[in-house]
């Protein structure tokens, strides 16, 4: 504290310069982080509009001499086999991710509500059990789950993926949503109950609309998680027509080891849906983190 008192009477100019120093440091740092983040993505885009021949040059063409959309046309053309595969993988990913998202909202909403509102025996234990799931790596569950899926006949079906993705989205989803329910005053529900609503009606009509941002955040999180998941899809699926995008792209690349423009175009198109979804809805996500995870 004494050091603060000593620095106080300094003249204005030197202090302003020091503050400016921090601010300039911050700006330089942000520029550095922007380059670190953006350059790889820019290079992906630039490579994706080169021909296969132009990509394999040394020194590289920093800017493509003859930009071409050939790679994108090839991937999106339902007439040739590459395009057929890519579109099918895309559709599979969309189906699996959407199913996971819908189911995880249906399961997480009542669970989070119960954790927030009720005091039943074992409540704390259950809540931490749900959180602890976050801690365990996919690999621990891989072998037994593979055997389990084989036993109940789900290997090589999208059902095995949906069931698995559901569990790994759930812990954070429940945690995020619980934060939202904690912040909704219980008096609102009590008022509705006095007016004759059942607990379930109060939940559907009062609590659900108020927690919509949390539900949206949960949905984004589940969707992105399922869209990007690789290890279970890689292990559970072996038939070509069922692969999801990450695994499908890996298979595509192991067959065409030098088609970097094609690979970059595929990576780009795989990223577009989740990036757009996230950018449109990111404020809900940040808000949910603020309310659920941080504020508690």
């Amino acid at each position: 504290m004494s050091t603060i008192a000593e620095t106080a009477p300094r003249d204005q100019t030197s202090r302003r310069m020091r503050v400016d120093g921090w601010r300039w440091g911050g700006r330089v740092f942000l520029v550095f982080m922007l380059l670190y983040t953006a350059l790889p993505m820019i290079w992906m885009l630039l490579t994706s509009i080169k021909s296969g021949f132009a990509a394999m040059q040394f020194p590289p063409q920093w800017w493509p001499d003859q930009p071409t959309l050939a790679s994108y046309q090839k991937l999106l053309d339902p007439q040739n086999s590459v395009g057929q595969d890519f579109l099918r993988f895309f559709w599979n990913s969309l189906f699996v991710s959407t199913a996971t998202t819908v189911l995880s909202v249906i399961v997480a909403v009542p669970a989070a509500y119960a954790f927030s509102r009720f005091t039943f025996p074992g409540r704390n234990f259950l809540f931490f059990a749900v959180l602890l799931r976050n801690m365990f790596p996919a690999v621990i569950f891989l072998v037994p789950l593979f055997i389990l899926m084989r036993a109940i006949g789900l290997v090589n079906t999208h059902g095995s993926l949906v069931l698995t993705y559901l569990t790994f989205g759930l812990p954070l989803a429940i945690w995020l949503l619980k934060g939202f329910y904690d912040n909704i005053p219980i008096q609102l529900e009590q008022a509705a109950r006095i007016d004759g609503a059942t607990r379930f009606q109060a939940f559907i009509l009062i609590v659900m609309p108020l927690s919509a941002p949390g539900i949206i955040a949960t949905a984004i999180y589940s969707f992105i998680g399922a869209w990007n998941e690789y290890i279970y899809a890689y292990t559970f699926l072996s038939k070509n027509e069922q692969l999801t995008l990450p695994v499908g792209i890996q298979r595509f690349f192991s067959e065409n080891t030098t088609d970097f423009p094609g690979l970059m175009a595929a990576s780009f198109m795989m990223s577009v849906p989740v990036v757009v979804l996230f950018l449109v809805l990111q404020r809900y996500f940040v808000r949910a983190l603020t309310e659920g995870a941080v504020k508690h």
Binding site: A8, A108, M135, F136, P144, S267, V274, V275
Partner: protein
């Protein structure tokens, strides 16, 4: 709420004989309905696999998952692991990978959050761009960076040659010495945005009055940060670091896609090694024993995680 309590009171009088816990559970039976779907799914996909992994770790298993032919061998799988050279190599790699990625991601993410805290033109756009790597799939990220690191046509190698810093493009991911740091750079690229979002959320909870009061008292920027902002963010920081550490400890995709653990195990971490043992060499028993060891380590980390969260709650309750 009052209606519900009234009903509970009545029910308590109806069943005087049963034990308190059972009665308590019975009274709250309707509440369990809300959690039941979550619990059932968790039991199927989590509890059963954990049990099965522990069981398998004590068995010698034939390849091809004909598990009826397994035979009990006690702790042999464990001793085999702990005496193997690969185990210590992989453990060392995992340590560097986890600590390096976690620490640098957190510092970069926190610093970015601080730099973005002050409002300026284009802040929203910048923030959105910085978050993108966290959103795109790790598979796409791995391929992008694999292409950037490419030993013949990679852009980093080309820049180094153009600037005269190297005679020929270096081998980033094909040489034992550079492979792990190169992969850590990719991992940080994908992970610092998470730390950034968490810390941005945390920064919003720091009361403005306190900062202004400190400023009036003559505290400089660093002192305001160290004595006001940072103590406020201790809980968020703990949770963020633990989540990052666990995610890094568990990461698989980046090393698996970019190098497959090579060259000569230099980029194998625990998870990729377990995967290769199980699905590559079909040594299910050994892989299960590895998983159990991993599980024990994670339980220890999990203990601190729960304590960090629990401490948070307790403080809230008293305030």
């Amino acid at each position: 709420m009052t209606i519900a309590t009234g009903q509970k009171e009545a029910r308590r009088e109806l069943q005087p004989g049963s034990s308190r816990l059972l009665r308590n559970i019975w009274e709250h039976r309707a509440d369990y309905a809300y959690v039941l779907p979550a619990i059932v799914v968790m039991l199927i996909v989590i509890a059963y696999p954990i049990y099965y992994t522990i069981e398998l770790s004590f068995f010698n298993t034939p390849p091809g998952l004909q598990l009826r032919d397994k035979n009990f061998i006690g702790l042999d799988n464990y001793t085999a692991i702990l005496t193997s050279e690969v185990f210590w190599k992989v453990t060392w790699n995992t340590l560097i990978w986890t600590l390096g990625s976690t620490f640098i991601s957190f510092v970069l993410g926190f610093a970015t959050a601080l730099a973005l805290h002050r409002d300026f033109i284009g802040r929203g756009v910048l923030r959105a761009i910085l978050i993108i790597p966290w959103v795109i799939s790790a598979v796409a990220a791995s391929y992008i960076w694999k292409w950037i690191y490419h030993s013949d046509f990679g852009i980093i190698g080309a820049v180094l040659v153009e600037l005269g810093l190297a005679d020929r493009p270096p081998n980033f991911i094909d040489s034992v010495g550079t492979v792990l740091p190169s992969l850590i750079v990719v991992n940080i690229w994908r992970e610092f945005p998470f730390a950034m979002i968490m810390m941005m959320a945390g920064l919003q909870t720091v009361p403005d009055q306190l900062l202004r009061a400190a400023k009036v008292d003559g505290a400089n920027a660093w002192q305001r940060f160290w004595h006001v902002t940072f103590p406020h963010l201790r809980n968020v920081s703990t949770v963020t670091i633990l989540l990052l550490a666990v995610a890094n400890f568990n990461s698989f995709i980046i090393p698996w896609i970019m190098t497959g653990g090579g060259p000569s195990n230099a980029s194998h971490i625990w998870i990729t090694h377990i995967y290769e043992l199980a699905f590559g060499r079909q040594r299910w028993g050994v892989a299960s024993a590895y998983s159990v060891l991993l599980f024990l380590i994670l339980m220890t980390l999990g203990y601190f995680y729960v304590r960090a969260l629990g401490g948070n709650e307790r403080k809230d309750g008293s305030a």
